[in-house]
């Protein structure tokens, strides 16, 4: 099998793994729809009771509309946003909207009618808005036709509003619940022929509606996967070799086998051991007491210092992938009236989802089931099938909303495989695998480490004539799907510097531009991490452009504007942020502003930070204004929540976040050594949404790429010195 990377360079972001391939191939096979043999699955596939108008909409007798959701909800609000899009076209009563999540086995049995389930890359809404809206619109057309048939009037004379069809001329009306039975018997409308509403006239979508999924988060009744309780369930605690690439040699099970509640010590795979007990606490304490022998392997010789040296070598190496080469940047810089050069670096980072990795599995000789928090339910499904050795038709994934995702629970279904491996050794008994926080910190797929050397040339008038960007660092694609990266040519690591519009385009025009990537992989596993690559590259580009502006004697905003004439959308959000923040207006004594703009995940972002640095060098971020053009704004309040979230995630990384390596393993194994931003450190955040209504951009990730550079630029303004490495806790500012 060979998988071709997608042309946009986001190959790994789309999880082009064997697991997805398995599900896709199975869906394409015709025999599959016939052979469903999983007990209970038929009932599950019937879904919530009511009349199904199409795959997206079920109408219940009390007029409630059930809207089906294929994507994963991990706090980002996609469930509410997708429901708003369907409800907008359906014109149902929003107060009576319910949602139902589709399982991957149900999707597969229906030949993947619900499409892609992966939830990452800020794609949840932007890649499914069209078909979900058409689903809502088609259901409405059926209801209209049913009323028209019943009343013997033309459809054109009917109106719908809030779940009621009315005929003004005759004064008749009927509720959706009354019409659904007849509507469901009608032939489905041609989806392609449907004209969707103009988003400027939306009344349900586009509104700052409350989330649909808040209630049970207020009283502890919401069940996350970690809360699953099954009859006879056992618990497993797990430990993988702390050195990446190391192997499990052996363990002395007899030392813990007689402890209360312990049911077994099992080899999970060639580098992982687990203790299974009647409770997790007993499993975990037994695991801590278990003598384990590891073969740590070659990775044990690695440290943060060796990795840094490896990356530094990439900054000046002759051989690099020149992703953009326009004009002659080297020559322009060499001959420039003034040169600016700087080297920046960003560390490995852990995701630290609040709900640690966990999965519950029950495997018998013929059926495999998992209960799992997943950003990609189909990847979980394939992992279950592969690891259990059972065909997909005898496997079921019970997906639960995630206690945080941030890219950790997408393509890498390591915790699902582990749970299945353990449960296989206890046939028929459900086993709940929970990672300790220490395991979660130590066995992540980290945000890749990188460095960046930037050089710029200015002419005598202070105009930028040449820019050379050299990123040296680890490649996600090379880790996830090595066959997609040939000769280190991985453009994904240069997200935000691309020339083509639409996803992660550089917002500056420079006459002589060279953008290069020197791939420098390490033994540390890497993966997507909220806004990955644009958040590192945003720091590099946006802090450096401030340095260049200073060298040119220009105001950072004015200098950027001179480079953005051909990028009106980038410029518009920059101007929106500057205006709301009062750029150029006086500030209280000791406060300074920094600005940044960048693009990623299909949307345009800009930020202005207000910062002070005291005599001890301590930083306070007082206020941040963020502007976002995501094209269409489906729920402005949830967009604001995601912007606030990106500030928390980005600022936490900027101030505190760092995974270091010693003797091949992670040093920061819990929140005492990997501090997370807390409420007292959170600035006042103002979100300015600048929708241009002509594209669909992402929301969850884009703004994180401007959080850190705007803060660092404000610190530069305060101290007169640039900050070129992170986290700030290591940088002496006084």
């Amino acid at each position: 099998m060979h998988i071709t990377p997608e042309s946009n360079g986001l190959a790994a972001a789309s999880d082009p793994t064997r697991r997805d391939f398995i599900v896709r191939s199975a869906a394409a096979g015709s025999a599959l729809a016939l052979g469903w043999t999983l007990p209970g699955e038929a009932a599950a596939q019937a879904g919530l009771a009511g009349t199904e108008l199409n795959i997206w909409v079920v109408v219940q007798p009390d007029d409630a509309c059930v809207i089906r959701i294929a994507r994963s909800e991990m706090g980002q609000g996609t469930l509410t946003g997708l429901a708003q899009l369907v409800a907008e076209e359906l014109e149902c009563d929003w107060a009576k909207v319910r949602t139902e999540q589709i399982s991957p086995q149900r999707n597969l049995a229906a030949q993947r009618a619900w499409g892609e389930m992966g939830t990452g890359g800020s794609r949840g809404i932007r890649t499914s808005h069209d078909y979900v809206r058409r689903g809502g619109a088609a259901a409405r057309l059926l209801l209209l036709q049913a009323a028209a048939d019943d009343w013997k009037v033309p459809v054109a004379e009917l109106r719908t509003r809030s779940g009621v069809v009315t005929h003004a001329a005759s004064g008749r009306s009927a509720r959706y619940g009354q019409l659904a039975g007849a509507a469901a018997k009608l032939p489905a409308p041609d989806l392609k022929a449907i004209t969707l509403k103009n988003p400027r006239s939306w009344t349900v979508a586009g509104q700052p509606l409350k989330r649909l999924d808040t209630g049970d988060k207020l009283d502890g009744s919401k069940r996350y996967a970690i809360d699953v309780r099954l009859p006879g369930m056992l618990s497993a605690a797990i430990k993988a070799c702390p050195v990446f690439g190391g192997k499990l040699v052996g363990f002395d099970a007899a030392k813990v086998g007689t402890r209360r509640g312990v049911r077994g010590v099992v080899r999970v795979n060639d580098h992982t051991v687990a203790v299974v007990a009647d409770t997790w606490w007993r499993a975990r304490t037994a695991l801590d007491a278990l003598p384990i022998q590891w073969d740590e392997g070659a990775g044990a010789a690695q440290s943060s210092a060796t990795i840094a040296a490896h990356l530094r070598g990439g900054l000046d190496a002759d051989n690099a992938f020149a992703q953009r080469s326009e004009g002659d940047a080297r020559q322009a810089i060499a001959g420039a009236a003034r040169k600016v050069e700087a080297v920046y670096s960003t560390p490995f980072l852990a995701h630290a989802t609040m709900e640690p990795m966990n999965c519950t599995a029950r495997i018998t000789a013929d059926v495999g089931e998992v209960w799992v928090p997943t950003q990609n339910a189909e990847a979980s499904y394939a992992a279950l099938s592969e690891e259990s050795g059972l065909p997909l038709t005898r496997c079921a994934v019970h997906r639960l909303d995630l206690g945080g995702g941030f890219g950790r629970r997408g393509g890498n279904q390591d915790y699902v495989r582990q749970a299945v491996s353990v449960a296989k050794q206890f046939p028929g008994v459900p086993v709940q695998l929970i990672w300790s926080r220490e395991e979660d910190q130590s066995q992540d797929f980290y945000r890749p480490i990188s460095m960046c050397k930037l050089s710029a040339g200015l002419d005598a008038s202070g105009a930028l004539t040449g820019l050379h960007v050299r990123v040296s660092g680890q490649s996600i694609n090379a880790y996830v799907a090595p066959q997609t990266v040939i000769d280190g040519k991985d453009r994904r690591q240069l997200q935000g510097f691309w020339s083509e519009p639409g996803d992660a385009q550089l917002g500056y025009s420079v006459p002589n531009l060279l953008v290069e990537y020197a791939m420098r992989n390490t033994h540390v596993p890497v993966g997507p991490w909220r806004g990955v690559n644009t958040n590192q590259n945003g720091v590099y580009m946006e802090c450096f452009i401030d340095e260049v502006a200073r060298a040119a004697g220009s105001d950072p905003l004015a200098f950027r504007r001179t480079l953005m004439g051909k990028h009106p959308k980038h410029l518009a959000v920059l101007n929106a942020a500057a205006e709301r923040a009062g750029w150029g207006q006086p500030l209280p004594a000791g406060r300074h502003r920094g600005i940044a703009q960048f693009m990623g995940y299909g949307s345009y972002s800009a930020a202005v930070a207000e910062v002070s640095v005291n005599a001890r060098g301590e930083v306070t971020v007082h206020r941040m204004v963020l502007a976002l053009d995501c094209g269409h704004a489906v729920n402005p309040d949830q967009i604001a929540a995601q912007v606030e979230g990106s500030v928390a995630y980005g600022l936490s990384a900027a101030l505190h976040g760092e995974i270091t390596i010693d003797k091949g393993r992670v040093v920061e194994r819990n929140f005492d050594s990997y501090p997370i931003l807390r409420l007292a450190e959170f600035p006042k955040v103002e979100t300015v949404i600048v929708p241009s209504y002509d594209f669909w951009g992402g929301v969850g990730e884009p703004t994180i790429c401007v959080v850190t550079p705007s803060v660092l630029n404000a610190i530069h303004a305060a101290t007169g010195k640039p900050v070129r490495s992170l986290p700030l806790k290591h940088v002496k500012l006084a």
């Binding site: 207020l218 502890g220 409770t279 206690g403 929140f671 807390r678 409420l679």
Partner: protein
């Protein structure tokens, strides 16, 4: 055998003395609203009230508690999500993923019981639980909203 007073009921629990209250609540009593986050009293996802004080249950061994210690978990805060903090959280639409919110709500309820009209500085000092989704701004706003609502009935 430990005797614990949880949400108004006395429970007899047969566990090892060093078992943290968190795991007794989750695994012995079946109250899963109190969450495991770090196990080292850093994140606050496991916050409960013990005798009216907010405490991190992951780091309290069951042997340190007696039947006279009144433990209240998120499930016992109100019968019907009517505690002012719960009402305010709904009004402000605070939660994102929601995993840390049991602990956040318990911390806020304890703060308001002591300081009915907390200042921003009071909130900074008391609300130290970790949220990875970034709901901090809404938590701050919701604490102020809760402070303006009628006080909860004494339970």
């Amino acid at each position: 055998m430990a005797k614990l007073h949880v949400n108004g009921l006395v429970r007899e629990i047969d566990v090892e003395d060093d078992t943290p209250l968190l795991w007794v609540l989750r695994e012995q009593i079946g109250l899963t609203g109190t969450k495991y986050g770090c196990g080292v009293a850093q994140c606050g996802a496991c916050s409960v009230h013990i005798n009216g004080e907010v405490r991190r249950s992951c780091s309290i061994p069951v042997s340190a508690l007696g039947p006279n210690d009144r433990i209240v978990t998120i499930e016992g805060l109100s019968r019907d999500r009517s505690h002012p903090v719960q009402q305010a959280w709904a009004q402000v639409d605070v939660p994102q993923c929601g995993y840390c919110q049991s602990g956040q709500i318990m911390a806020a309820a304890a703060l308001l019981a002591k300081k009915p009209k907390p200042s921003d500085a009071d909130i900074d000092e008391a609300m130290t639980n970790i949220c990875r989704c970034g709901t901090y701004q809404r938590i701050r706003a919701a604490v102020h909203v809760a402070a303006a609502l009628p006080k909860p009935a004494q339970g």
